[in-house]
Amino acid sequence: MSGNLPEEAFAAALASVPQVGPSALRALLARDTPSAAWARSSFAGDVARIWQRHEEKGIEVCWRGGPGYPDRLGGDPEAPAVLFCRGDPSVVDRHPTVALVGTRSPTRYGIGVAAQFGADLAAVGVSVVSGLALGIDGAAHEGATASGAPPIAVVAGGLDDPYPRRHERLWARVAEQGAVYSESPAGVRTERWRFPVRNRLLAMLSDLVVVVESRHGGGSMHTVEAAAARGIPVGAVPGSIRSPTSEGTNALLAEGCFPVCAVADILTALSLAGVVLPPPPKPAAGGAPDPVDLGADRSLLEALSSDPVSLDTLARRTGMAIPALCGGLERLARAGVARDVGGWWERT
């Protein structure tokens, strides 16, 4: 029976043995091929069924030293011995990679920044690495899957069980355009302790880590620690000193992480770290759009800022009555210079 099963099947079976942890697995596969290691150890388990489960779901299996295993991970002593992947496992070696990570309950500021950096990085040919979690992770990938370099995701549980459910579609999109990696074989539920392990792998796969928004002691700090231990540069997006969701990032800046205020900062840090950047794409023809004639609404536009403000605040700043204010805002929105965010207004 075992004669016609590929080596990948035994790698998956070894990773599926509950009592074998990451370091035991590394030790087992340090010298032997997966099938030899399986034969040498006397674990109970139906290799054929485990393999079938991975094949059915289209999950690629690669092991350290085997074909397809990402080169990036080769030198890391803590790299997973067996890696599961949906999509092409070697895609991570083709482009420079930047991890965009952060809190699961971000502010709109964080979501906006993550989505913009995700899109801009992908557009200049940098793969965005993230954890597909709610919040910043999801926003970064939403931006990165629009176009450009393949997105990379690292998740904690088995690849047959998209978690969180809300991101099921995003999962499929990332797997299709790039790759979703996991250390867990199919059938493994997403458990709490797997997140720090996931965050370590996320750092290993990245040339650079950027924390967009994080609370004090948030999960992103695992990624930062893993990156710092490997000498991977870490950047942080500064935030308001009054916002709890920026406590972690502001503390990182105080500790000496480089500040990220634009995509250009990330690209500079990448080239300083010795990463060869792809040539920038040609700028689109046309140039800047013509300025719109706003007339009397210009003073209203000046009362707006990039942070959303309430109508009451606007009424106080401009001294206008509510109906006139609504009309002016509507005209500004039509001109594309303002927009409403759940009843508050901001400059675009």
């Binding site: 309950s105 709890p244 309430s310 509510i322 109906p323 759940g342």
Partner: protein, 499 residues
């Protein structure tokens, strides 16, 4: 010996005539009541017997049978006591036959023969027309609201027996004078700042648009909602009667016995059950909060904390203006034409999405807004964001405009609306026949929103109606672009609470 006395019982907010037949015959002494009495009616045996004896009237040592016709309908409450007692007196020839001709009796008896209050007197009085009505003295004012001089208030069974024997005249019934409709509602002048919230309140009052306020704690949602009834015009005589009748049926009429002339304001707590809100009960149908709020304001504070089932139960009455409550014992219809005002936080922690102070996870927020189904959210024409007032304005700002000023604008807008169409502020998707006249620039703005996908067809209709109200408020004959953009601003918080 047989006597037949007319009486009435309450079914929901309407009275039902009941004929009380009393038969006294030879046989083992006993007292039975048949004709589907509930527990309170069955216990009236003991009250009636004690009341007769206390009033110095002998109790027959014979077999007494009482039948409540129609016998297939369940009778509830103690209001039949008086009719049963009078029936016994007539059947035992203690009162002359024929003395109860043309009279209806409603009242509860005390063991000492005194007459006590019965809830729902207005509905009972309605049901017993055109007969004269004998009621407890304390209920006479209430019954006289609809029956005038046909009402006789008496204080005890003994007094009544004397009048019926022809030994005395009916005691004088106090005359009810309706005091002028004084508003005791809190005034809008107490609200500092909040220009947008005030504006939304005015539009809601003028067009009877259901209003949902979304804002963090301390943004004045409750304060504003409490001031909405003060902006509404006084009830018309017909409305006033409907409201008073429902309150009378629920037994919560103020004791001065006057008609309710100001729009009611009801604030059920979010732990209220469906029955408490829409009405019902196992045998006696009691009107719920939505009926008590009829022609007034129903305020649901902390909308997100209400159980989903309770909120969904509001959908049908919001659409139809009545609520039909069906039980094994029958179906009753209560009025439920109320203005719904609700308030909720933008998220469970209440700190909102923008300030960055929100500690809720995305999942928490999703769970919070999931309670609001899209159909329920659609019932709100106005979904407005509120924010905490500026501290300077709160402390030193000038007091706001009074309710009287804003109320005058609301009344004027309503006049304009009713001059144009007979059904102002009707909710539900229209056929287009009663769509307001719109200026081309207003239509153009709506069309562009529809094309961009920012409005659905249903949303378009709602915005058009709110815009009409806004135009009425400023006295504009046609709906212009500025009125439409105002109406659009008044629903912008939808995106924040949409599931």
């Amino acid at each position: 010996m047989l006597a037949s006395i007319s009486a009435a019982t309450l079914a929901g907010a309407v009275g039902r005539p009941v004929s009380v037949e009393v038969h006294v015959s030879n046989g083992l002494p006993g007292f039975t009541i048949v004709g589907l009495p509930d527990a309170a009616v069955r216990e009236s045996r003991d009250r009636v017997r004690a009341a007769l004896l206390s009033s110095g009237l002998p109790w027959p040592l014979r077999r007494v049978t009482v039948n409540l016709a129609p016998s297939g309908v369940r009778k509830a409450g103690a209001g039949l006591d008086l009719a049963i007692a009078v029936g016994v007196l007539v059947a035992t020839a203690q009162l002359p036959p024929g003395c109860t001709e043309g009279l209806t009796f409603c009242g509860e008896l005390g063991l000492n023969g005194s007459l006590r209050h019965v809830p729902g007197m207005i509905a009972l009085a309605d049901a017993t027309a055109p007969l004269g009505l004998v009621v407890p003295l304390c209920d006479a004012r209430e019954a006289a609201l609809v029956r005038g001089a046909a009402v006789h208030g008496v204080s005890s069974l003994g007094e009544l027996a004397q009048v019926l024997r022809g030994q005395g005249a009916w005691p004088a019934t106090p005359i009810v004078e309706n005091p002028p409709a004084l508003s005791h509602d809190p005034d809008l002048a107490d609200v500092r700042g909040q220009p947008f919230g005030r504006h939304a309140l005015e539009v809601a009052a003028a067009g009877r648009h259901h209003l949902l306020m979304v804002g963090p704690p301390g943004s004045g949602k409750t304060m504003l909602a409490e001031r909405l009834p003060g902006l509404l015009p006084a009830l018309t005589p017909e409305e006033s009667l409907v409201v008073t009748r429902v309150h009378s049926a629920a037994g919560c009429l103020p004791s001065d016995g006057a008609l309710i002339s100001r729009p009611p304001f009801r604030v059920p707590h979010h732990s209220s059950s469906i029955v408490a809100l829409v009405g019902g009960g196992s045998w006696s149908f009691r009107p719920g909060e939505i009926s008590l709020a009829t022609h007034g304001v129903l305020f649901l504070d902390e909308l997100g904390e209400f159980p989903v089932g309770v909120l969904e139960a509001l959908r049908q009455p919001l659409e139809e203006g009545v609520i039909r409550v069906s039980r094994a014992g029958g179906t009753v219809t209560f009025p439920a034409r109320f203005l719904l005002v609700a308030a909720m936080n933008p998220c469970p922690c209440g700190e909102g999405v923008f300030e960055g102070a929100c500690t809720c996870t995305v999942a928490d927020r999703a769970r919070y807004t999931r309670r609001l189904s899209a159909p329920l959210l659609d019932r709100f024409d106005l979904v407005v964001p509120l924010s905490r007032p500026d501290p300077d304005q709160l402390l030193d700002g000038p007091p706001g405009e009074t309710s009287a000023l804003a109320g005058a604008r609301v009344a004027a807008a309503r006049c304009r609306a009713s001059a144009r169409t007979s059904t102002p502020g009707r909710s539900g998707a229209g056929t287009g026949a009663d769509d307001p006249p719109m200026h081309p620039d207003g239509s153009r703005l709506l069309a562009s929103k529809l094309r961009d996908g920012q409005l659905t067809a249903r949303g378009l209709h709602k915005v058009a109606r709110v815009a009409r109200t806004v135009a009425d408020l400023v006295g504009s004959e046609q709906v212009h672009e500025e009125h439409v953009s105002d109406a659009l601003c008044l629903r912008t918080a939808r995106t924040r609470v949409a599931p």
